[in-house]
Symmetry: C2
């Protein structure tokens, strides 16, 4: 059972309109609503892969009940409300992202208690995405240490202060290039050197996520690069979550890193080919998997 | 106790942004959310006036619980969800109105049962706004006949097919000029003639709502015009609901029509001066009330 943790979930709302004109009233004919957040999307992809997963996090009671009717999940009712992300698709795409809602005092403690009780049955754990206001920035790091103490491998897909606090926990970190540069405090000489330096600081694996360029990972003193084939078009939202699902599955099964990275890169590509975040295109996944080259990376100019 | 009925409630969401640009991602810093719908706004104004009111309608369980914690109300959980109206205030105002959500089969019957049980304690009843999909267009007319049978005066603030079905019930109807013209099937010679004709067809009072121009009403063969003073600036959303609250209060207390119309016009003006629908500006109300002239209307060119 893989546990995925979401500390700032969202309700993803899509409005489809013929056109959006600033200053006017629009009657929206088509509304789609989906319970989201990065860890929820990781759990959805694992579920689609037939891998047992349980989504855990902070939300309100309404979100918690609705998600539990869709997906194995336990969300503590610690937020006053769940933010919405409104995406208006009208030729171009216009997005309105509400801020996260305040977490109740003590929510971090109650979440740790919940996770502690569930770690006995866990094969891996992920923490993905931003933190709701009121959640301490070091909560993902504390979760990682708790899981490590129980012998459960951990993947942390974080940004900002939570990512800074996570360096040194030894958990797998998955920064993108901007986050890696901010973590390093300087522009790296080349991406491989950046990952090597971050892995050393982290005392654990670091996987640099590079969108269409794939992944560069360093673990236990060795580095690899996984490059997906070019030319997969679609919606990149959710590709990182699908890749995280692949990494978590590989960690859960104790697979070798080259195999883990091939799977994660293929799942990222298969998510681009699917229309909705939290889903993969199974045909793309199957066809891409064999074409991904995993090799020692060349050092290259950044 | 005045009962206000809402058959298509909404959650009114306001986003405030420095600017809205089509095709871009916006992080919304300020979100305000309010449980709404026209009948809910009527109940809010009555509540502010110290007049006992109970809001009744169709919604989902979440909306019903949340509203009950704010306002005396009973909403049956008959809708799959409650629509949102998103208003983006960014210099200009851009609105996105979701469609109403489907009502469960038999919702009309269950609402009539609920109202029947409550009519013994009712002094007046209003039905305001549109109908959720799945609600029969004649439900407001059936509610009006039920209330009339119990001796309770009724105000129907409707449009489209529900308004057509309500003509002849004898309930007070409150069309605006566009609705009156559609009901008549022709452009009226002048507004007073339109109201006279509609009141005759309705076999009951008709109050034409004319925004800043005030109200023209015909009841029991007599017509009046109530004109608010010019120059009240603000937000006209909710002015009609405040006027409906005034009409309902007057009907509940059996006041004479000129007095009812003066109060309704003053409340409409006081709602324009308040920033949010469902509220009135108490100072404006007090100062405007004495300045409103209620007189037999002149016939005028349309």
């Amino acid at each position: 059972m893989i546990i995925t943790v979401t500390l700032n979930p969202a309700i993803d709302v899509t409005y489809r309109l013929p056109r959006l004109t600033v200053g006017e009233v629009h009657r929206v004919a088509e509304v789609t609503t989906r319970l989201g957040g990065k860890g929820v999307n990781v759990a959805r992809v694992l579920h689609q892969l037939g891998e047992p997963a349980h989504a855990v996090g902070l939300a309100d009671a309404h979100f918690a009940d609705a998600l539990a009717s869709e997906l194995p999940s336990t969300f503590l009712p610690e937020l006053e409300d769940v933010r919405r992300t409104v995406v208006v698709v009208a030729g171009s795409t216009t997005s309105l992202w509400e801020p996260g809602r305040q977490a109740a005092p003590g929510a971090d403690r109650r979440l740790l208690d919940l996770l502690e009780a569930r770690l006995a049955n866990a094969t891996a754990l992920t923490v993905s995405g931003s933190l709701a206001p009121g959640v301490p920035a070091d909560l993902p790091a504390r979760i990682a240490r708790l899981a490590a103490g129980a012998g459960v491998p951990v993947l942390l897909d974080l940004d900002d202060a939570a990512l800074v606090a996570a360096v040194g926990t030894g958990a797998v970190l998955t920064p993108n290039e901007d986050e890696a540069e901010r973590l390093l405090g300087h522009a790296p000489d080349d991406p491989v050197a950046a990952v090597e330096e971050l892995a050393a600081r982290n005392r654990g694996p670091v996987v640099l996520t590079r969108g269409r360029l794939g992944l560069i990972a360093c673990a236990d003193g060795t580095c690899w690069e996984a490059r997906p084939p070019a030319g997969i078009a679609g919606n990149p939202t959710g590709a990182g979550d699908a890749a995280a699902a692949g990494l978590a599955r590989g960690l859960a099964h104790g697979r070798p890193w080259p195999e883990i990275l091939r799977d994660a890169a293929a799942l990222g590509a298969a998510a681009v080919a699917a229309p909705v975040a939290g889903e993969i295109d199974a045909e793309t996944y199957a066809s891409v998997l064999a074409d991904i080259r995993v090799e020692p990376p060349d050092h290259e100019e950044a």
